[in-house]
């Protein structure tokens, strides 16, 4: 654990603060984007569901939580197999926060909140990720007041 009062802490690699898990290259893709934008992609450990059975995925997620000590797990899709695995793990790991529906603004916000606890950072990041969905254009379908319209 790094000591925020120590200036040397900024130079040491940050501990893994969260796991990102999803279909195919979802996690690696988002985390590489976080890294390109902030240089802080290394707060994340990534997992892909590719070619894994539900049981294998659950085991992999459990192991990653144990090994990294991560207190937060971000997954991609409500019905996705990573989310299903996460829900199984949450049955006996209710100390870990499981967040479904991760997006880039959410993971950026979390990665940059190094001064708060992972759980606080995640709660803030969830709000940021939700608020970051906007749209413009699209004619009548994208008009103000319509679902997804400019606000």
């Amino acid at each position: 654990m790094s000591d925020p009062a120590s200036p040397a802490a900024a130079d040491s690699p940050p501990a893994i603060r969260a796991i990102v898990a999803g279909h195919s290259d979802f996690a690696d893709g988002l985390v590489s984007a976080v890294h390109a934008i902030t240089g802080r992609g290394d707060v994340y450990h990534t997992i892909s569901a590719r070619n894994l059975s539900g049981a294998e995925l659950e085991e992999k997620l459990r192991q990653a939580i144990e090994e990294t000590g991560a207190q937060v797990v971000f997954t991609d899709l409500q019905a996705g197999s990573c989310t299903m695995a996460a829900r199984r793990v949450s049955r006996d790991r209710n100390d870990v926060l499981f967040v479904c529906g991760a997006n880039l603004p959410m993971l950026l916000d979390f990665a940059l909140a190094a001064d708060t606890t992972p759980l606080e950072a995640a709660r803030h990041a969830i709000d940021r990720g939700r608020a970051a969905i906007t749209s413009v254009g699209g004619g009548d379908a994208g008009a103000p007041g319509s679902p997804g319209g400019r606000s």
């Binding site: 279909h23 409500q78 996705g80 989310t83």
Partner: protein, 163 residues
């Protein structure tokens, strides 16, 4: 409508099923056939949480399907029936008259050999699939609707190109 897809998938309800097949087939319900899940409230709640609110999930033990299948086949909505393993689907072929089987995802295990990117089979599982075929069921492998279905013979020979 009726059951549009009889699928063997060891992940049961997940993204490929709900979104990948569910949206293009306009699926209104899923029949999840699994003896363990059928007796576990917690497991059922888990799978319900994973599906959109307008998609109903019904849970059955394998032995119940022969009796309830006609009701689902007469449903006005389109549905997907899922089993998590080959044995359960073979029983549905034998006992419930299922004649079209989709291999959607059977993943790595120490006694299985890889046949496709998403299909691994043990020798006894290969034999059970052949048995389905002898019962008159058409068995093909296809993970998502956009992929080409792979005939059972090609699956068993591991002849399909793996994208």
């Amino acid at each position: 409508m009726s059951i549009a897809l009889f699928r063997i998938d060891d992940r049961l309800i997940h993204g490929q099923v709900v979104v990948g097949w569910g949206q293009p087939l306009d699926i209104g319900f899923i029949v999840l056939v699994d003896d363990v899940v059928a007796t576990s409230e917690w497991e059922q709640e888990l799978y319900r949480m994973g599906t959109p609110p307008d998609m109903h999930v019904y849970f059955h033990a394998v032995s119940e399907v022969g009796e309830v299948l006609p009701k689902y086949e007469a449903d006005r909505r389109a549905g997907i029936l899922l089993t998590g393993d080959i044995d359960s689907m073979l029983r549905l072929v034998r006992e419930a008259g299922v004649r079209k089987v989709n291999l959607g995802g059977i993943h790595h295990r120490s006694d299985r050999k890889q046949k496709l990117r998403y299909v691994f089979l043990s020798p006894s599982e290969e034999e059970r699939l052949r048995e389905m075929s002898r019962f008159g069921a058409t068995v093909t492998a296809q993970d998502v609707p956009a992929a080409h279905p792979v005939e059972l013979d090609d699956v068993l020979q591991a002849r399909a190109a793996t994208p």
